[in-house]
């Protein structure tokens, strides 16, 4: 794949579920702080509610995160956890990135 004459990388080696920009941010944050509340993730990634919800669903479908809906006092609260599979995929993704960028 080429784009404007720039040197390219092998996109096939990258986990596309993780590599959306916002999903990358979510995984990065959860790798350090898990669980995180929905508003916390929204504020830290700079996403909107709808956008974050869409991308969390995609990560959850892949089994990388788990959303737990509950209540904190009388207020509804959603906590997002990084799953074991998600942590493994995150590490694999970072390794793939190192390999790809190191080869360019």
């Amino acid at each position: 794949m080429t784009d404007g004459g720039n040197p390219n990388i092998d996109i096939e080696a990258i986990d596309d579920v993780i590599h959306g920009r916002l999903r990358l941010g979510v995984m990065a944050y959860l790798s350090a702080i898990s669980p995180a509340s929905f508003p916390e993730l929204r504020d830290k990634t700079g996403a909107t509610n709808g956008n974050l919800s869409t991308h969390l669903t995609k990560l959850e479908t892949a089994g990388y995160v788990r959303q737990e809906k509950g209540f904190k006092g009388k207020r509804p609260q959603t906590l997002v956890y990084l799953t074991d599979a998600g942590r493994a995929a995150w590490i694999t993704y970072l390794d793939a990135m190192k390999a790809l960028l190191g080869s360019n």
Binding site: L24, Y29, M97
Partner: protein, 204 residues
């Protein structure tokens, strides 16, 4: 996808991860509350033993009972507020919470055992004094673990100060003035580090 786009995305993710890792400890207000209460309790205990209050020395136990009840109540109130703060579930904050909870439980176990041992005539009243160096020792360990994890200098200082406080109070454990000395040492080893932690959290 170009390298520039990829690198930009990775920088974005790295920035988020670094900011998450750098989340300050948020339990400073609880630590400040406990150390201030303990300092007051130590001073009152010292004043009772010195005869300045005219109260019977057996009432010193009530001071510590109120200390425990008030501290637990305020911990619940403050804990509710803190649990919803961003970063409250970072590794450092979870370890800090576990360390202080364990420390508090162990001091409680030592205190209750001392009361039971005293009431059954197995130990002299001076045994109560040993709770103070025990608490400083446990604080030194808790501060040391959290300092090792976070690298914060004020926690290293707190760990060393708590260890020295344990040594000093153990050395003068039979002297009634130990409680006054412990109060001053707690300001240096607990109140000041907690104040720094509160300021760091507020600056986030």
């Amino acid at each position: 996808m170009t390298n520039e786009a990829l690198i930009s995305d990775l920088e974005y993710a790295t920035d988020i991860a670094k900011r998450a890792e750098a989340t300050p400890l948020i339990g400073g207000s609880i630590g400040l509350m406990w150390t201030c209460l303990a300092t007051i309790a130590l001073m009152i205990h010292g004043a009772i033993l010195a005869g300045w209050t005219g109260l019977d020395t057996s009432l010193a136990g009530l001071v510590w009972l109120f200390y425990g009840l008030l501290g637990t109540l305020f911990s619940v109130i403050l804990g509710r507020r803190l649990s919803s703060k961003p970063g409250s579930r970072s590794l450092a904050n979870r370890v800090a919470e576990a360390c202080w909870l364990s420390m508090g439980l162990m001091v409680t176990v030592v205190a209750i055992t001392t009361v039971v041992a005293f009431m059954t005539g197995r130990v002299e009243v001076v045994a109560f004094n040993f709770i103070v160096p025990s608490a400083f020792s446990l604080s030194a360990v808790a501060y040391g673990v959290i300092a090792r994890l976070t690298g914060y200098g004020y926690l290293k200082y707190a760990s060393v100060a708590s260890g020295l406080s344990a040594a000093v109070t153990l050395y003068i454990v039979q002297d009634p003035s130990m409680y006054f000395v412990a109060g001053v040492l707690l300001i240096l080893s607990g109140v000041i580090p907690s104040t720094i932690e509160v300021r760091n959290g507020a600056a986030q």
